[in-house]
Symmetry: C2
């Protein structure tokens, strides 16, 4: 019998969960999946923390936001903790998603293998370039961006990924919001403005490089 929620109804309105905690949760999940692939059945906060560069207390405190998942004196059963974290993150559900902008980055995202394991399925691509429309790339149909609202509704798309140039990003974001996606990941190097009820995450490849440059210039090893 898994101790899934000996106390807390997993993600109650207790307190706002810091974004950093959610990010670490994803790292724990990734590490747990590697552990299972390597044949481990159980692990501990100490082992998990060591692999990722966190303290054992941090691992336990992070999990404590959501419930009690371990066995005192023993540790955590990997498969149970994986399922618990997937439930918390929502990656045990199906997430139909669309990529908008089929340039170099858009194509790379269409072919990325890592999404399917966490419930993300790319069910449409969009572009304004007539030479791409109607084609199928990596098994995904590419539509005219003018069809976005229709296709998002027909295919029940919940998440949109913006991979267009900066100048077009806000307009694409507006179209995705109008089509009623629930969340947006923005790869364009610009800040987009969205209504409160639409979640978003921004990823800027140049900014990641800038972080490494700073770390090097200041001789830091941080990750």
């Amino acid at each position: 019998m898994p101790p899934s929620e000996r106390k807390k109804p997993a993600a109650e309105n207790d307190a706002a969960v810091p974004k950093a905690v959610v990010n670490r949760l994803s790292l724990y999940l990734r590490e747990l999946q590697h552990l299972v692939a390597a044949g481990s059945a159980t692990t501990s906060s100490g082992q998990l923390g060591q692999k990722l560069g966190f303290t054992d207390a941090q691992v336990r405190k992070d999990l404590a936001y959501f419930g009690q998942f371990g066995y005192p004196g023993v540790g955590y059963r990997c498969d149970e903790l994986i399922e618990a974290i997937r439930g918390i993150l929502g990656t045990n559900r199906h997430w139909p998603m669309a990529i908008v902008g089929i340039g170099n980055l858009g194509r790379a995202l269409l072919g990325y293998k890592g999404f399917s394991h966490q419930g993300f399925r790319i069910v449409a691509g969009f572009d304004a370039d007539a030479s791409k429309i109607g084609k199928s790339i990596e098994g995904v149909e590419i539509f005219d961006i003018a069809e976005l609202t229709n296709v998002v509704q027909q295919r029940q798309i919940k998440l949109g990924v913006i991979a267009v140039p900066a100048a077009a990003a806000q307009q694409v974001a507006d179209q995705l919001v109008a089509a009623k996606v629930l969340g947006i990941v923005n790869f364009a190097p610009v800040t987009i403005t969205l209504p409160e009820h639409v979640s978003h995450v921004g990823v800027d490849l140049a900014i990641e490089m800038e972080q490494i440059a700073f770390a090097v210039v200041n001789r830091l090893s941080g990750g």
Copy 2:
């Protein structure tokens, strides 16, 4: 006369600068460059913060880690602050870099236009696949990964980008370290272990999607 450093020698050993501060610095820089492109000569902590969703005090405190860059009663001169931040981040230098792994993502990175504006120049690609070696993609020569050490030294490559499958990432990281790169950006979905003196940043596309899933499931709008 810019007030560049009325007090602090920009990035002294005062105190460790939080990673979150450095990340926001990159966002300020991006926003300032958009402001200049839009014709603004000056801005203020309030305006900058509003565009990015931070308070004015936060913007000022972040900059205060590195010196005094503003004019009381006036604000900041965009061009001066841009140069100051570029100096802090180190993006006013030249950063020869290499992409290891010329799959979908590697190719997208080779063609990414956003790097050159911040001093990053891709001067080599590496792959183990004989059909790619010797070719030129997006104007970048692709070498056999066995040549990594030689090429890194010949071309004075300072940063390495890992875009290989998870199973090969640690080995590639070790090769980059042996070739004496100063920093590594890892796109493989695995935690890599590096010596203390090599800086690193990890970017996992699936984890970014997981963050959006969590935000949606918990009806958050955070970015």
